[in-house]
């Protein structure tokens, strides 16, 4: 069994990952703090039952469940994603932005992306966050969410397309042409 110090160290190492997942799932800084706190407390209470090589998966699964519980409990979708939401990401990205106007546009686009991401239904949202934002492999995601590998792939691909569709209406994203039009297409410019 891990000592209290070892658990404390583990929690300290994983808290940023947990918080990031919670934030992009819930779309609220305050809710993300609550979810992170609940998740880490649950881990502390159950650490003796979690094998050392399963800690990350356990935390991902628990964070997702805690976030979904919060959403259900508060009877709202993460649509409150708004000014508050982009504050954290603005702070995190401010240093890398090239200039004030670019930063403003970039921040708005990012906020739009975050909002649309948070509006996605499960499991698309969690899969996109875990794969694209947190850089987990398909195997890690399948293991963490206890889903078959093929399901992870299918949901992720569908999630990307759903997000693309939702972003098409966004003023900061260039529209994508309707793809499946029942007609023959003549192309001029060729890429690839």
């Amino acid at each position: 069994m891990a000592s209290s110090q070892a658990i404390d160290r583990q929690i300290d190492q994983q808290r940023h990952r947990v918080f990031t997942l919670a934030y992009y799932t819930l779309g609220s800084h305050q809710d993300a703090e609550d979810a992170t706190q609940e998740t880490l407390l649950r881990y502390w209470r159950n650490a003796s039952r979690v094998a050392p090589d399963r800690v990350e998966g356990w935390l991902v699964r628990t964070t997702t469940n805690v976030c979904l519980d919060l959403i259900r409990k508060r009877k709202r979708s993460p649509e409150t994603f708004g000014n508050e939401a982009s504050e954290a990401t603005l702070q995190a990205a401010a240093s890398s932005s090239p200039g004030p106007s670019d930063r403003a546009v970039s921040a708005e686009s990012r906020q739009q992306l975050e909002r649309k991401l948070a509006e996605l239904k499960e499991p698309f949202r969690s899969l996109l966050i875990l794969r694209e934002v947190q850089g987990m492999t398909y195997d890690q995601i399948a293991d963490a969410l206890e889903l078959p590998l093929t399901s992870v792939r299918v949901y992720l691909h569908r999630g990307r397309r759903l997000l693309a569709q939702q972003l098409e209406a966004s003023p900061h994203c260039s529209p994508t042409p309707e793809h499946h039009t029942p007609k023959k297409i003549s192309t001029g410019g060729v890429r690839r």
Partner: protein, 194 residues
Amino acid sequence: MTPHETSVVDCDAYMDAIDQLIDGELAGPALEALENHLASCPLCVALVDRLFAISNDLHALPQLTCPDRVIEAVRTHHRSDRAPIAARMGYAAICLAAAAALALVLFPWQLTAPNQPEPSSSAQLAEARQAIAKLSATLAQSDTAVGQETLRRGLVEPLGRAFSVVGKTKLGKWSAAMGVLIDASSTPEQSKDS
């Protein structure tokens, strides 16, 4: 159909390949086939661009820093969380230990009856009282797992000795029975802890 014309039917056949391309998992003849298709299909090119852009944008979202106040709150909650002690010890062990302590309080005359004292009884009574104090101290330490050996050595055996000295065999048996129940109520996890 000219080399620069394509149809929806053709596009549908390439959807999986496009997803694999975005995942970075498309190679060999399948990649070549998709490239040939993209060369004649601007809509698929636009879709690929779009999906790549979304993937890149998501990838560029910052990893956030969890505020220190969250971890401090977790630590504070954990420190004040005393509930697991019952789970660690087993409710039966706690109840029986409490009952034994109660017996000492309710029947002190049995331990101090005028005709009963023997030379060593007062020392063993003190030992029993120390055992009760040990139990209280142990209960107060929520972070410390309590094993059956702790209970046996610290409480059951001293109580048994104290009771047998004053000739209260029923209480002595009680104490022995408590030891059996503590064995039964200890879980594998508690054994590991101890």
